[in-house]
């Protein structure tokens, strides 16, 4: 008896590489879930990691920074918020551009 595998059809589910029970410091939703405006986790509602090592849904941190009172500081540690550009969850500029405005309407 000789058995050879010709073709393997695997299935995997992706998630954000974060501790399981962690939530976004702004909307309090799990990272694997979406910000409060989006419906689908994934490319359309990515995460953004700051140089301070705090992560948020990209939509959440953007609307936070747009408020004047935030003074563009991280809401967790009050350091000026800068994204770790290369390691940020948004890998390509197109994805970032797409992601700035949620494509799905707010609930």
């Amino acid at each position: 008896m000789k058995v050879t595998i010709k073709e393997w059809n695997a299935v995997a589910a992706w998630r954000w590489d974060m501790p399981d029970d962690d939530v976004c410091g702004i909307c309090r939703n799990p990272y694997d879930s979406t910000c409060s405006k989006c419906k689908f986790p994934g490319d359309e509602c990515p995460l953004l990691l700051g140089e301070c090592n705090h992560s948020f849904h990209m939509h959440c941190i953007y609307s936070w920074i747009r408020q004047e009172s935030s003074q563009e500081k991280c809401p967790m540690c009050r350091q000026p918020f800068k994204s770790k550009s290369q390691t940020a969850a948004t890998a390509t500029p197109t994805a970032e551009g797409q992601a700035q405005e949620p494509t799905t309407s707010p609930l």
Partner: protein, 783 residues
């Protein structure tokens, strides 16, 4: 009696006299009249007339007078202002004659049947009418110059005399009328009818102007009695169908008789009213009797149902079938839905039932709007009945929701050949039915077949209030089709998706769309990955394909622990590194239970390519290089694969106990035991080279089914609690029954809620201190 010989040549001569005589003779006679004494002239002339009348009435001899002469005599008398006396003498003469000879001839028959009295009357009436012609000629001048200007007439006078003396005679009147009615009764009893006599009788009643006053009321009175008796006997003795057919025949027969004998329109109208009153309105309970009606539905007796409906519709009572119609549908449907032994056939049975009822509604009930509503209402009722049973793991879930989802899965996997034969246009349809059904059915190709099936299934699905159960199962089945590549047609999938958007809303289909999108993205991802591998000259013997899912859009899958063989692990690890590099911040959870593969296996009787589940492949790999008689025992398999026993058992069963078995179990048997051992099946062979043996992966396990049902029920509890909180937030204070009603209303679209479950959820919220129960039993919200 008046023999033809008595009215010869003379009669021929007379008619011309009518037209010409008066003008010509007028002046000449005026002079003559002056000379004679009027009374003597009257007596003398009347004697002549009287003699002539005796000849006419009694036929004592041949007509021996000149009608023309007599006509002139009457004319002269009238011109002598003797018209009144002539009229009186004529009337007296006729009265004596009619009251004597004519009446006596009828009275002679009094001892016999009514019909004999009628026949005698008809004869005497004919005689009298014949004799009237002579009177007409003789007294023509009297009639025109004296009677008509006074709004009288000779004819009227003669008819009045006959009517009052003969017809209205107390001993004769009812006998004559009943004689005619008796003839009708004979016809009703299907006995020989003397049609001529009845014709003559009706004509006589009309001529004598007694039809409306004497005949019609009596006929209707007797008809009512007859119809009532018929209805009572027939409704007790006959089946519903036979009663309807008999009733329709009776109405037809009565109508035909009315037309044949020219009965008055009023008679026809009243008779019809009697028929409808007694046959339909008063027998409504009989006609809409639940049991008999149910028998017709049971037999799918479309034609009999049509007769019944149109019969009731004569009185606009077709709608009275609604209660019985709904009851039958509800009972029949409930029996199908709760038939625990035949759950798999549920949807096909429901579709047949719906189809049957639609045809009945269209053909038999003429698309009656009320009955149509009843049909839909009844379907809605039984489709939403829930019962906590083993079929739904003691939840309140809608079993039809689950079975409809599964039926759609069968269609989308199998295409047109999966459509059960009994739903594939029956050929034994009655012609009447065929004509009414939509023409679209005539187009025959696979896609439209499947589409028309999907339409019918969705028609059924629309009755289900709670979509949650359907959605859960539909999603699981779609996932399986996508991951195993088991969809028959991408078009059919798309068309189903757009239908579901309408039925379940975009919230549900957005998830499904994401699932399609994940598969599409994965295909692209794999293409570029393989290209990259080629560029790097890193081609592997193992052809790896990965579907990467966005977990939240897919059903939740439990992670099953398994030890992945190194060659596969190497390949997947490599892909994972590539993926993470491309999508930073992400990681992958491998769902090995969902993987499948193709393997090449050399059996003693030939090499085969097998499509197997990942677990089947992992087990089979352990037989690599073994001799035909080398046993592998259960515990070794358990340790080496790392599979939990339920999974391992299922996998071994599928390899060694199913129809196609690459392995042989020792000892033989259907159940896997820890003491079993396995060898290669040396006899394994199949006509095909490529064989799918991973159906085990496509089948839902009982545990999976239970998990889905329980999750839907748990979600419903969560939604119920959320709804209760929302209601209390807006109302602040609400009493128990109002809260229950509002909650049912708010959650209706997700599934049926039972009051005890609502109560349980209220209690749970009280425990969690979202609300409190006050002393008067009302609830208030705790902010």
């Amino acid at each position: 009696m008046s023999s033809p010989t008595t009215r010869p040549k003379k009669r021929k001569a007379t008619p011309s006299m009518h037209a010409n005589a008066p003008k010509r003779i007028h002046v000449k006679n005026f002079k003559l009249a002056r000379k004679i004494d009027p009374q003597a002239f009257l007596d003398q002339t009347w004697q002549k007339i009287n003699d002539a009348l005796d000849v006419v009435f009694h036929k004592q001899s041949e007509i021996n007078f000149s009608l023309e002469e007599l006509y002139h005599s009457v004319e002269n008398l009238c011109q002598q202002r003797l018209a009144q006396q002539v009229k009186e003498r004529l009337e007296a003469k006729c009265r004596t004659y009619v009251g004597g000879t004519l009446k006596e001839r009828v009275k002679e028959t009094v001892g016999r049947e009514d019909v004999d009295v009628l026949r005698a009357t008809i004869q005497v009436w004919a005689t009298w009418n014949h004799q009237l012609k002579y009177l007409d000629w003789i007294f023509c001048y009297l009639d025109r110059a004296y009677l008509v200007p006074r709004r009288e007439s000779l004819r009227e006078l003669a008819v009045d005399l006959f009517r009052s003396i003969v017809f209205e005679h107390p001993k004769l009147n009812s006998r004559i009328v009943d004689g005619a009615c008796h003839l009708v009764a004979l016809d009703r009893a299907d006995e020989d009818l003397d049609r001529l006599t009845l014709h003559k009788a009706i004509k006589m009643f009309h001529d004598m102007q007694v039809y409306t006053k004497h005949f019609e009321p009596r006929l209707l009175e007797l008809s009512q009695k007859y119809i009532m008796e018929w209805a009572d006997v027939a409704s007790a003795d006959k089946t519903l169908s036979d009663y309807v057919k008999g009733g329709r025949a009776l109405i037809k027969k009565e109508k035909t008789r009315v037309e044949d004998f020219r009965l008055d329109a009023s008679t026809q109208r009243d008779l019809l009213r009697l028929l409808e009153d007694h046959l339909i309105s008063r027998k409504e309970a009989r006609l809409t009797n639940q049991d008999d009606f149910a028998d017709l539905l049971e037999d799918n007796a479309v034609e009999d149902l049509e007769l019944l409906y149109t019969f009731l519709e004569r009185r606009r009572s077709g709608v009275k079938l609604r209660a019985a119609f709904m009851k039958w549908i509800e009972e029949t449907g409930t029996a199908i839905v709760f038939d625990e032994k035949e759950q798999d056939g549920m949807v096909v049975k429901l579709l047949s039932l719906k189809r049957q009822l639609d045809t009945i509604w269209k053909v038999a009930f003429h698309r009656d709007a009320d009955l149509g509503h009843g049909l839909r209402e009844a379907f809605e009722t039984f489709m939403n009945k829930t019962k906590k049973s083993s079929q739904t793991w003691n939840t309140d879930n809608s079993k039809p929701g689950e079975m409809i989802a599964k039926y759609v899965d069968v269609l989308l996997r199998g295409g047109a050949k999966a459509i059960p034969a009994q739903l594939n246009r029956p050929v034994d349809k009655p012609a009447a039915v065929e004509a009414v059904e939509d023409n679209e059915d005539l187009i025959f190709d696979e896609d439209s077949e499947v589409n028309s099936q999907l339409d019918q299934v969705l028609d059924l699905f629309r009755f289900v209030h709670g979509k949650a159960v359907f959605e859960a199962f539909y999603k699981k089945d779609l996932a399986r089709r996508l991951l195993m590549g088991r969809s028959a047609s991408a078009d059919a999938e798309r068309s189903m998706l757009s239908r579901l958007k309408t039925e379940c809303g975009a919230g549900f289909t957005a998830n499904l769309e994401q699932m399609f999108k994940d598969i599409e993205l994965s295909r692209e991802e794999m293409a570029s990955y393989k290209m990259l591998m080629e560029e790097r000259n890193e081609k592997h013997s193992l052809d790896l394909t990965v579907n990467v899912l966005s977990a939240s859009a897919w059903p939740t899958y439990p992670t099953v622990s398994v030890i992945i063989p190194p060659q596969i692990k190497t390949a997947t690890d490599k892909f994972e590194r590539h993926y993470k590099a491309k999508h930073s911040g992400r990681k992958l959870d491998w769902k090995h239970a969902l993987a499948h593969c193709q393997i090449r296996a050399k059996f003693p009787r030939g090499a085969k390519e097998l499509v197997v589940s990942s677990f089947q492949a992992i087990v089979l790999l352990l037989f690599n290089g073994l001799n035909e008689d080398e046993h592998v025992d259960y515990n070794y398999l358990k340790e080496t694969t790392g599979l939990p026993p339920p999974e391992l058992n299922r996998t071994l069963q599928s390899l060694a106990c199913a129809k196609l078995r690459p392995l042989t179990k020792h000892p033989k048997g259907r159940e896997i035991n820890p003491t079993d051992s396995f060898t290669l099946n040396t006899n394994f062979t199949d006509p095909k080279y490529r064989i799918k043996i991973n159906t085990v992966q496509l089948k839902e396990t009982a545990a999976e089914n239970k998990e889905t049902h329980e999750r839907v029920a748990a979600d419903r509890n969560y939604e119920t609690q959320a709804a209760i909180v929302r209601i209390l937030k807006s109302r602040k204070r609400i009493n128990h029954s109002e809260l229950v009603a509002e909650t049912i209303k708010a959650t209706r679209s997700r599934g049926t809620l039972h009051v005890p479950d609502i109560k349980r959820n209220i209690d749970r919220l009280i425990e969690k201190e979202f609300l409190e129960r006050e002393d008067d039993g009302a609830y208030s919200y705790i902010a």
